[in-house]
Amino acid sequence: MERAHTSVTRTPLTSVVVQRRSKSRSYRLSYRSCLGAASRLGLTPALTARRLNTSRKAPRSHNIKEKVTPEHLALLVKTEWQLFYVTPLYQFRHTQLKSYARQLSAFIAAERQQGLAVEVGGPQNSFKVSLSVVQGMTEADADAETVLIQIHSKPLFASQDEPKKSVWSGLLTCINGNPEYLQSLPKDFTCLPLFGSRGVENLSSLVKSWFQRTFDCSFAPLEISHTSLQWFAALWTNCHTESDIQHLKMLWTLPVVPPLQVTYTVNPHDAWELWSSVRNPSQKKGDGAEEADCIDFEEVMRFMQGLKSHFYRHFRLDLSAGALDQVSTALGSAKSSGKIKMSSSRYVTAILTLLTECALLKMPI
């Protein structure tokens, strides 16, 4: 009985489904959705609880500069992105970006002047939309190419050679996405789970709504959880030997009346000292460089605990009662409200990997 049972959940029913679909599609589907789906869409959150990775590679100053053009890199860094997660895009083709740009610009024009029809592909006189692939961003094979959306305004009386002003940009990306999840999706879907936008709110919602209508996807704000923020603090501190983090600044909110905000800035050397003291000795000593790269969540927790107890010793205030709202170093900043700033292009991949993971965790199925 027990043996028979375990094979129920494991046996892929697909062969049976195909055979008999014509007859009992509906029941088969519902059958699959409760048993088969667990194996097919391996990460159905309810059935197999998905968690944030408890161990990840330490970010290394990446050779991203060799792979990605400096123009693209310049667009990614130095400014703050507002983050969203996106469900997989249906029938999205990287080869169609030009046509998408035309449609999107017509859509924006039509939405902005309600009640006026707009020819798709006709000359738009207010905005110029362009979509482009950021070559060289992908890390794993399953990752879809990153797409950059830019909207430039066209001033009415601008001279021909005057540079167009960028009013909005957006980023759809997937870096080191969970390959199991990505491969479980049918071919029609392109998974670019992380969407970052910067610029006018109004344009953000127009772009989102065009994507929703065109690729049948949904957008929702992506908040950076307490745990992820702690990860950021540790990951950035870990980079200190490679590039100076200058400071480790954390913003805590404590639930007292009136609410108390604590800005906790740590000297980079002290932070690094603390960090190296909490690293697992076994891994630190590890012969292979590969092993030494891995950071465990335990270490992160110890690091945070160290920071908190230090604070307690001085101010008699236990930060673990509060919530971490913001972490920033010279390498970047992350806010719990879902804002990220990557100040150095060297660690773009590491940051986006963590955020991709957060976004994939939010997928409804």
């Binding site: 009985m1 028979a4 049972h5 129920v8 959940t9 046996t11 029913l13 049976v16 055979q19 008999r20 007859k23 009992s24 599609r25 509906s26 029941y27 589907l29 519902s30 059958y31 959705s33 409760c34 048993l35 789906a37 667990a38 159905t44 309810a46 059935l47 469900t87 997989p88 249906y90 029938q91 083709r93 169609q96 046509s99 998408y100 449609q103 859509f107 039509a110 939405e111 309600q114 009640g115 006026l116 029809a117 707009v118 020819e119 798709v120 006709g122 999706l185 049918p186 029609d188 879907f189 919602s205 209508r213 065109t214 049948d216 949904s218 929702a220 939010k362 997928m363 409804p364 199925i365």
Partner: protein
């Protein structure tokens, strides 16, 4: 006065159509009388038509009595019976060709009331005349309005569609434009949408501004060719084309009524109104509107082989059936939930990615609204309620849940307070499909247990009902599925069926046991509340029939925590229902046993189940029948001392059918009827064999059918004939 009405007057008064028609009908009456007096041999109407078809161009109008007489005749026929297709052809040709100038033209157009259909050729010819003749612009407008009014009565539209381009050329005429746009709207097919037409309309738009008629035509173009044009219609313009109060409408309806024809469907084609404007910024809970796919290049290889019909174009069920093999799914799958027609189609959608799209959207909407920290649903309970209602209606229609709403629910149950949108959430809960038994504890039982024990009686009842529905759906699903397996068993490897069946049995068993635990403790907590007991017994009415009703070889007995509260309940209905349930258990068990012997199939009901059942039957019979309560071996045991201390006389018979608190009242009533003269009541006297069987009969006539079934199936006849002692059991 009417007789001297000059044609020029007529032309002027064409703006106020009603007065003319009333006057002319007045006059037509008088002329008609004159006509009848003349008593002509030939049909005057035919003659009149002949006049109009033969009359030479340039015949004077003023002072032409013949014209007047014939026109009156035609009008009379038109307003009473309507004109035949031939008559329409003749009159339309006469009017539009302006053979007698433009003055009679208006009058003729106004009386063109078709009796049956309008011949397409006539309309096409008339449209051609539009460009040839020098018809005044107001008359041209009148003509197009007439076409719009009778559009549904035109016998065919193919030729009209083939001159689409010709009709389109009139849009530049400023006064005609609104009506031409409406006509084009009615005639547009996918192939008529061309870039140059789009550009022309856009050019007009830049000249005329935002005109609803242009916008509606363009929005139809967008439906067919979203890659050419895009627009967003502001809410105030969404009402569709203006429904002109045309001069023909009332007359047309009157004629159609008289002819017993069905009234033509309303002409004004309205653009479907979207749900009211929303104030909220993030609109996760809005069903997207149906719209067609823009980027067809991607699927070109598929659509090239066959012409596809976007779901937006389907407006009726027959249309759906006609096109079911080539329907194109909408751009956003979520939009299917909004229309019942689309739901019909969703039921046949086989594409995996389509269902996945739907689930992504639904899951995201539910997550954002109910699981996010800002508690959108709490603030917008009105919308959340509507959304869940729509979702439930869709699930109800499809008779299955969506996997994303299930996964959502597994999470939501952990944070649910048990009162927010209770009926809807419980409804969703009952739609959850079979869950593997290993997962049930974590996904369902843990959160449900917590809410169950901390909520009110009504929640407990609601949850019981919902779990009962869930079980019913699982069993129904199984019975359909199992039936199919029997049908094409050759197609499948036996193993997979057996495995799935045992897994399914495990899940059902888990669920039943779980409800048993909930019910036992719940009844205790609520002091065996009869309302809760009733919901619990509902559940066991489903459970006791799993084998016979649903073909599932599984019988699970209720726990003592349910059995005894029902047996010792103070309301007779509960005892009766328990008796019925026990009776059904017996029927199921015996038939399972005989089938087992017959087919020697691998399944068997465990001996433990039979033992439990027999035990319960013995207890029931002993308690209700044999007056042997509190005997050793019964689950309810009280110390002898305690019983003595309670000073209840003859405590062993306190729960028989006579003294049972639920039936005492019947026993007293029976006693009074049986021995009306007796002063002192001795209920024990019913125990004697004769009055006992009478008493049973009496109880059965009171509607205790369950009790009757139980007695008949579990207590043999001789026993009744005997002293009411002993019992018989199955096996």
């Amino acid at each position: 006065m009417a007789a001297t009405l000059s044609p020029s007057d007529l032309d002027q008064s064409s703006q106020s159509g009603h007065s003319v028609s009333s006057r002319s009908s007045n006059r037509s009456l008088r002329v008609a009388e004159k006509e009848r007096r003349k008593n002509e041999a030939e049909d005057p109407f035919v003659l009149a038509l002949k006049y109009f078809s033969d009359v030479e161009a340039g015949t004077p109008v003023i002072g032409n009595d013949e014209l007047d007489r014939n026109l009156v005749l035609v009008e009379k026929v038109a307003y009473s019976r309507g004109l035949s297709p031939e008559a329409i052809s003749v009159m339309l040709e006469f009017a539009m060709s302006l053979r007698m100038g433009s003055s009679p033209c208006v009058r003729v157009l106004k009386c063109l009331i078709p009796a049956t259909v309008v011949p397409q050729e006539a309309v096409v010819r008339a449209v051609v005349w539009l460009s040839v003749g020098k018809i005044p612009i107001s008359t041209q407008v009148l003509f197009i309005k007439w076409v719009l009014t009778v559009f549904d009565m035109i016998d065919a539209k193919d030729q009209l569609r083939s001159i689409y381009g010709f009709i389109f050329s009139f849009v530049t005429e400023e006064n005609l434009c609104p009506f031409i746009c409406h006509l084009l709207y009615l005639l547009t097919r996918k192939e008529s949408v061309r870039v140059f037409r789009v550009r022309k309309l856009l050019e007009l738009q830049s000249k005329l501004g935002r005109q609803p008629f242009l916008l509606h035509l363009l929005s139809l173009y967008k439906v067919f060719c979203p890659e050419l044009v895009t627009l967003s219609i502001p809410s105030r313009m969404r009402s569709g084309f203006k429904n002109h109060i045309s001069p023909w409408k009332s007359a047309l309806i009157a004629v159609q009524k008289r002819n017993g024809l069905q009234v033509a469907p309303s002409v004004g084609l309205t653009v479907k109104e979207k749900t009211g404007s929303r104030k909220r910024k993030h609109c996760q809970l809005e069903l997207p509107a149906l719209s067609s796919v823009v980027n067809k290049e991607a699927q070109a290889e598929r659509s090239s082989s066959r012409r596809v019909v976007p779901l937006v174009h389907i407006h009726s069920f027959p249309q759906l059936l006609e096109n079911i093999h080539r329907i194109e799914l909408p751009a956003q799958m979520g939009s299917l939930l909004g229309s019942s027609l689309a739901l019909q189609y969703l039921d046949c959608v086989q594409e995996e990615s389509a269902l996945l799209r739907l689930n992504f959207w639904l899951g995201c909407a539910l997550h954002e609204e109910f699981l996010c920290s800002d508690g959108g649903a709490v603030q917008n309970s009105e919308e959340a309620l509507q959304f869940l209602k729509d979702l439930l209606a869709a699930q109800h229609f499809l008779q299955e849940g969506f996997s994303s709403s299930d996964t959502f629910l597994y999470k939501f149950l952990n944070i649910w307070d048990g009162s927010l949108l209770r009926p809807q959430v419980l409804g969703l809960l009952s739609n959850i499909p079979v869950v593997p038994s290993s997962q049930m504890g974590r996904l369902l039982f843990e959160p449900l247990t917590q809410i169950f024990f901390t909520s009110s009686l009504f929640f407990k009842c609601g949850l019981m009902e919902s779990l009962n529905n869930m079980l019913l759906k699982w069993l129904t699903w199984h019975s359909v599925y199992a039936l199919e397996d029997d049908l094409d068993i050759s197609l499948n490897s036996h193993t997979s069926i057996n495995i799935t069946l045992s897994g399914f049995k495990d899940s059902v068993m888990e669920l039943v046991h779980f409800v048993g635990r909930l019910a036992s403790v719940g009844l205790q907590l609520e002091g065996c509340h009869s309302l809760l007991l009733s919901f619990v017994l509902d559940f066991y009415e489903t459970v006791c029939d799993t084998f016979l009703k649903f073909g599932l070889p599984l019988v699970v007995m209720p726990p003592p925590g349910v059995f005894y509260p029902a047996l010792l309940a103070t309301d007779p209905a509960s005892v009766d229902r328990l008796a019925y349930i026990m009776h059904r258990y017996k029927v199921n068990l015996t038939s399972a046993k005989s089938q087992e012997k017959l087919t020697e199939q691998a399944f068997h009901i465990s001996r433990q189940t039979f033992r439990e059942f027999n035990h319960y039957v013995v207890v029931m019979v002993n308690c209700l029948w044999n007056s042997k309560m509190f005997q050793p071996g019964v689950d309810v045991q009280l110390g002898e001392e305690l019983l003595l201390r309670s000073k209840v006389p003859q405590h062993w018979c306190r729960f028989d059918l006579i003294h049972h608190p639920a039936f005492m009242n019947y026993a007293v009533d029976f006693h009074q009827r049986c021995w009306p003269d007796r002063k002192d009541m001795d209920l024990s006297s019913i125990k004697h064999s004769k009055p006992w069987s009478w008493y049973l009969e009496y109880l059965f006539t009171q509607g205790f059918d369950g009790l009757r079934d139980f007695v008949q199936s579990n207590i043999s006849r001789q026993v009744i004939a005997g002293d009411g002692q002993g019992d018989s059991q199955p096996r």
